[in-house]
Symmetry: C2
Subunit: 251 residues, 2 copies
Amino acid sequence: MANLQPGKPLDMAAIKVACANCNLHNLCLPLGIDTRDIERLDDIINRKRPLARGEYLFQAGAPFHAIYAIRSGSVKSFTATEDGQEQVTGFHLPGELVGLDAISSDTHNCSARALETTSVCEIPYPQLEELSALMPSLQRQLLRVMSREILQDEHMMMLLGRKAADERLAAMLMSMSNRFKQRGFSPREFHLSMSRNDIGNYLGLAVETVSRLFTRFQEDGLLETERKHVRILDLARLSVLAGANRISPDE
Amino acid sequence: MANLQPGKPLDMAAIKVACANCNLHNLCLPLGIDTRDIERLDDIINRKRPLARGEYLFQAGAPFHAIYAIRSGSVKSFTATEDGQEQVTGFHLPGELVGLDAISSDTHNCSARALETTSVCEIPYPQLEELSALMPSLQRQLLRVMSREILQDEHMMMLLGRKAADERLAAMLMSMSNRFKQRGFSPREFHLSMSRNDIGNYLGLAVETVSRLFTRFQEDGLLETERKHVRILDLARLSVLAGANRISPDE
DNA sequence: CCGCTTTATTGACGCAAATCATTGTTTGTC
DNA sequence: GACAAACAATGATTTGCGTCAATAAAGCGG
């Protein structure tokens, strides 16, 4: 974000974009960093103009120079398979970081596109690395965020490897629900910014299967959908389905 | 590894276990770190007695206090699903780090077991974090290794989400082949230390499917197997299958 | 060396989900 | 406001892979 000058407390634009004033800062990189140090982090962050739906945050193959934190809106990241099809690797909500997989290769391996009007904070990586060496709390948080990403990916591997279609969709919906809740929104009613196609792609399912599952969930009284708007009626049951064992089909 | 005392150059045990003398050090954490600093890294590393096949390196739920580098042998890591079944999340060869997913939660989320007689280097995490703050090159490499892990997991997600059974096994074999090659072994002939069960579990396939695929690959002249010993006959074709497009089934 | 357990291979069968096909609905553009 | 393009829903059909079952081979402890 733009530099926050302590001498200009009335500059709304500057205030709004400072990490210290961002209501996401305990979900994001500044977590666990004290106020003085957050300002130093602020200083290296660039605020970009909002992206329109469909715009690229970065594209696969581009040289890597920054990671991005979502401030508002949402983003999908995806790689291309060898045969040119895309594979969605994640959906990112405000407070989440995108581009961490590019650190090792100095090149973006996946692309990221805005799913709706989205604003992001650009964090130049060389400077982040440098600052991390000076601020143990930042280094610590950066490593934690990356570790969490690994954990989530492992969770996803389990989902794709072992779970049935309905369990996958339920898990995805529960994940969204929990993340919206974390961000102060309703866990029972929200807007899915991605298409059914993206959902299917992400979950390793055909679009048709996703569509059918939404209608089945609705028939079963689990939820109601109106296009991309979802209202969960039975959060408990959905949660069970998401982490369900398939032990007793005898009832 | 045990502290290497400069005054005792004839202490073979001490020499052998020092990072500086380890032939894996350009695959492992010391990559890109100069000789002087490697010694400081050495100082915090503990060398453990070799683990027998089946022994746990750590178990899920245990408090996290160290990450591990494989020195020799191999390890599988796995989580338990809600219904108590296990899901293999990775196989680890010498030079690779295990336990990175525990950093964010202070608790091991997955277990790691030796697939054969295995020796590892234990790297206490608090000290590693501390040292990283002092050594930019170490911090840099640690972040790179974690980023690479994220990248690999994304690759795995694509495998599980989009690829057919034969492509998955081919990709897994190619991965092993490449990793053996990196370590100075033959890329065409190697020993798979894990069971068919583990392979199937890892790839999201039934054991029977893995078995059938091995026989099919053999019939197709791609490879020869004798139990766990694999000899790849047509590396090129296997590689194509691993990253294959499914465009032209018309031949 | 012999039974016992674990692991691997192979076959028959069924089902969950992919694919194909059609229609309806929404969104964006000129 | 009309048209095209993208998206969503639903039915019909096919198929890849999981499940079940049986046998064989290998590893292991006494």
